[in-house]
């Protein structure tokens, strides 16, 4: 029944293995991941295409905001302290929207991790995506695993130098493109693109490109899995996010063990034989250099390439797919109990199979509804709550604001006719990219009138102000109240600002101070 001759056995050991833990000061052993084929690999190509596409193309999307604002859809305008995201414009004091996005990213990460494990690490983390991209280049130039090992061990020759030069040159080109794309988020992309190549761009642009080129090249090309294992905190945090119902990439040793390289011979001698043919395909494709058959490990980013590799082998030997699969600890323990007769025996393949050779119905399989459990629902709820609050905040936020600073020194001035004057610094914020005429008026404070320093308005209870698009306008207002109208040493009143065209308005509750005298 079993024909293990078809399956190539790979000479590969796990570089990072819990069983043979390397001393801390050992030199890094290079990993030469073999190319994997299968549905997860297909999915990862798709994710890579989408994420890289978003990263490189976003700055080039145009978005018309009229003549007074940039037309770049996504722009962090540090010089003018504005952040543009399609139809949203954020001023620095509205940074809580960005904080909210970060909170959502946090809860989203918790939600994803508690449901489907380290999917972020395995599929969408920039480190994973760029290492994948760098590996594509490496494979294209140096060949797949065996060829790369051979080249690595070979003496330096013209051929080797040429191959290495080509590889590193393309890596650096990718790194430059990565750093280059980043700066486009901070300035008008088409203009900056020309400026960069003509030497006209700001030094900070070149420095940023240089730094990101260096980090991309070093992390993606040279350090690779070490970034995840040694530098990244997420592998340490994830343990708190996972529970027994979280999906993780699992070697199902309840059907794989005892593994055997010579199944035919073993079967002939009556020994129990599991599904694992010990071909090491799962180890060879692993970009982290681990052996998934050792169990869940800190190094595992759950990229699922070992599932693809093993599924291919299972197809060849005529077994069900899923010897390595996404499984929960709960299911795994159930099945393990079946295979070991409740822990009383070593793993016995016969216990998990029915007489026809298929997996028997005592074996449990993952069902999607297991994603719905209190933990994930709480994460989802928190994520949605923040999201709804942000959308609500975004839809109801003011685009016209007034801030007022009451003069403190002096708090009030007595004028020659006995009337009392208070000074206020008024700041009008026109937060839309259009010029507006805003009418400032007094509300309350009977008999009082305003005069504005530097503006030629007659003293009155309201006056119009021209405000530039997307700018704040600051001016000094003197409010004067006749002596006989003063009711108390401290009186409340309002500054009301209104755009007469859109009827947008804002109010500031101010106080008017006078010498402490009773009427």
């Amino acid at each position: 029944m079993l024909d293990t001759q078809e399956v190539e056995r790979l000479e590969v050991g796990a570089v990072n293995s819990a069983r043979i833990r390397q001393p801390l000061y050992a030199k890094r052993e290079k990993i030469f991941p073999k190319r994997a084929q299968g549905r997860f690999r297909q999915f990862k190509w798709l994710v890579m295409l989408v994420t890289l596409g978003i990263y490189y193309l976003t700055p080039w999307i145009r978005w018309d905001r009229g003549p007074f604002a940039p037309d770049q859809a996504v722009l962090v305008d540090l010089a003018n302290r504005r952040f543009y995201f399609f139809f949203i414009e954020i001023w620095p004091q509205e940074f809580y929207f960005v904080a909210g996005l970060l909170v959502m990213a946090g809860f989203g990460l918790f939600l994803v991790t508690s449901s489907v494990g380290r999917a972020w690490c395995g599929y969408t983390c920039p480190q994973t995506v760029w290492v994948d991209l760098f590996l594509v280049v490496e494979r294209a130039i140096e060949g797949d695993r065996n060829a790369r090992i051979k080249l690595d061990q070979a003496r330096w020759s013209v051929n080797k130098i040429a191959l290495r030069l080509a590889k590193h040159a393309i890596w650096i080109a990718i790194a430059v493109a990565t750093g280059g794309a980043w700066v486009f988020y901070f300035a008008d992309a088409p203009k900056l693109f020309v400026d960069i190549f003509t030497g006209q761009a700001a030094p900070v642009a070149y420095i940023t490109v240089a730094i990101l080129t260096a980090t991309t090249y070093t992390f993606g090309g040279l350090m690779r899995e070490q970034v995840c294992t040694y530098m990244c905190p997420w592998p340490r945090i994830q343990a708190a996010m996972l529970d027994e119902h979280s999906l993780t990439v699992t070697y199902n040793d309840w059907r794989g063990e005892p593994r055997s390289r010579h199944a035919k011979k073993a079967v002939a001698t009556g020994q129990p034989v599991g599904d694992c043919v010990d071909c090491n395909a799962c180890v060879a494709v692993c970009p982290m250099g681990i052996d998934i058959r050792d169990g869940q490990q800190l190094e595992c980013i759950t990229c699922a390439l070992c599932i693809d590799a093993c599924d291919g082998v299972m197809d060849k030997v005529g077994k069900e797919r899923g010897l390595i699969s996404y499984a929960t600890l709960w299911d795994y323990n159930q099945n393990m109990a079946v295979a070991t007769a409740g822990g009383t025996a070593p793993i016995t393949p016969a216990l998990v199979r029915d007489p026809a050779g298929g997996l028997n119905d005592r074996i449990v399989h993952y069902h999607l509804r297991k994603i719905l459990r209190p933990r994930t629902l709480v994460y989802l709820g928190a994520w949605l709550l923040v999201g709804v609050l942000m959308v609500y905040g975004l839809l109801t936020r003011d685009r016209l604001q007034v801030n007022v600073l009451h003069d403190r020194n002096p708090q009030y001035v007595t004028l020659s006719d006995g009337s009392i004057r208070n000074g206020y610094t008024v700041k009008l914020l026109n937060m839309i990219p259009e010029p507006r005429t805003i009418v400032v008026s007094l509300e309350g404070l009977e008999g009082a009138s305003m005069s504005v320093v530097g503006m030629d308005h007659p003293e009155d209870r309201s006056f119009p102000v021209e405000v530039e698009p997307d700018r704040a306008k600051t001016f000094k207002v003197y409010v004067r109240q006749p002596a006989d109208r003063i009711e108390a040493a401290s009186q409340g009143f309002n500054f009301v600002v209104e755009d007469k065209a859109s009827f947008e308005s804002d109010v500031y509750n101010a106080t008017f101070e006078a010498p402490g005298k009773s009427k």
């Binding site: 004028l415 020659s416 004057r421």
Partner: protein
């Protein structure tokens, strides 16, 4: 310690140091750490050559790059001076009225004036320019020597009763204890109090009216509204430099106090005076 000791569990030699049976493993430092350390040494040597570093007898070595933090400050100050030079030149060449009419120039001059006010004027007029008894409040609309921008400029430039400046404002109210009878002084004080609404005896005020017309109206005006040309204050308004009661007025009539303000043009120059005038004018009381 000459004897080499190897830890049985880790197989690593120890340093020979021991604390209560705990031995220190002699693990090597991480390579990246060591190389970073060497790099910092090389960097430090290069740094001491490039920048001022080694102390010599009279000064430190100057470094091949010729860097100096003092020169940096000088450059930055020069840059700042150059950046505002066009405004300073404009303030110097234009009249105060022209400065007021130009919004940017007015903003600049008022800001510069505010800074100079904080250094030169707050000692008497207060940091909010509110003054105190004997020192005028510059925020209000009462001006002893006139409240137009040109008047303010002249007052700051030449001071008040300042001996060192021939163009200074001069006026002196006589001490009326030598001129008027005590009863007349009380009567005229009551009359003056009634002008500005202070509590006063109506009969005495009535009697003081004639005394006022004879002795005071020549400077303070028949209506008591004062005369800025001679620095005679308006007695009818709600603001007064020295008095808050009828008794204060009596004292001021018997032996008047006179404030002195230095002339600032000779100390600060004309440009600074223009800036100060613009600032004071912008406090809200300018006419």
């Amino acid at each position: 310690m000459s004897e080499k000791h190897v830890d049985e569990i880790s197989g690593v030699s120890t340093t020979g140091h021991e604390w209560d049976g705990i031995k220190e493993l002699n693990n090597p430092l991480p390579r990246w750490w060591v190389w970073t350390f060497y790099a910092t040494i090389v960097w430090a040597i290069g740094y001491t050559i490039a920048y001022p570093a080694w102390p010599m007898i009279s000064s430190a070595t100057s470094g091949v790059l010729g860097y100096s933090s003092r020169a940096d400050v000088k450059t930055e100050l020069a840059t700042a001076e150059a950046a505002k030079a066009s405004y300073v030149d404009a303030v110097a060449s234009k009249s105060v009225e022209e400065i007021l009419a130009d919004e940017k120039l007015r903003t600049f001059a008022a800001a510069a004036g505010a800074a100079k006010f904080k250094v030169n004027c707050v000692q008497c007029h207060g940091s909010g320019a509110t003054g105190s008894v004997g020192y005028p409040n510059l925020n209000d609309d009462e001006w002893l020597w006139g409240g137009t921008i040109a008047d303010i400029q002249k007052t700051i430039a030449h001071g008040v009763r300042f001996e060192g400046d021939p163009d200074t404002h001069i006026s002196e109210m006589p001490a009326f204890r030598d001129i008027l009878q005590p009863a007349e002084i009380v009567n005229v004080a009551n009359y003056a109090a009634s002008l500005s609404g202070l509590p006063a005896d109506p009969q005495k005020a009535e009697a003081g009216s004639a005394v006022f017309a004879q002795n005071c109206a020549s400077c303070h005006g028949a209506d008591g509204k004062g005369m800025a040309e001679v620095g005679a204050p308006d007695l009818t308004d709600a603001i007064s430099l020295y008095v808050t009661s009828e008794a204060d007025i009596e004292r001021q009539i018997r032996a008047p106090k006179h404030g002195v303000m230095p002339a600032w043009q000779q100390r600060l120059g004309e440009t600074s005076v223009k800036e100060l005038a613009t600032y004071v004018y912008s406090l809200g009381g300018g006419k």
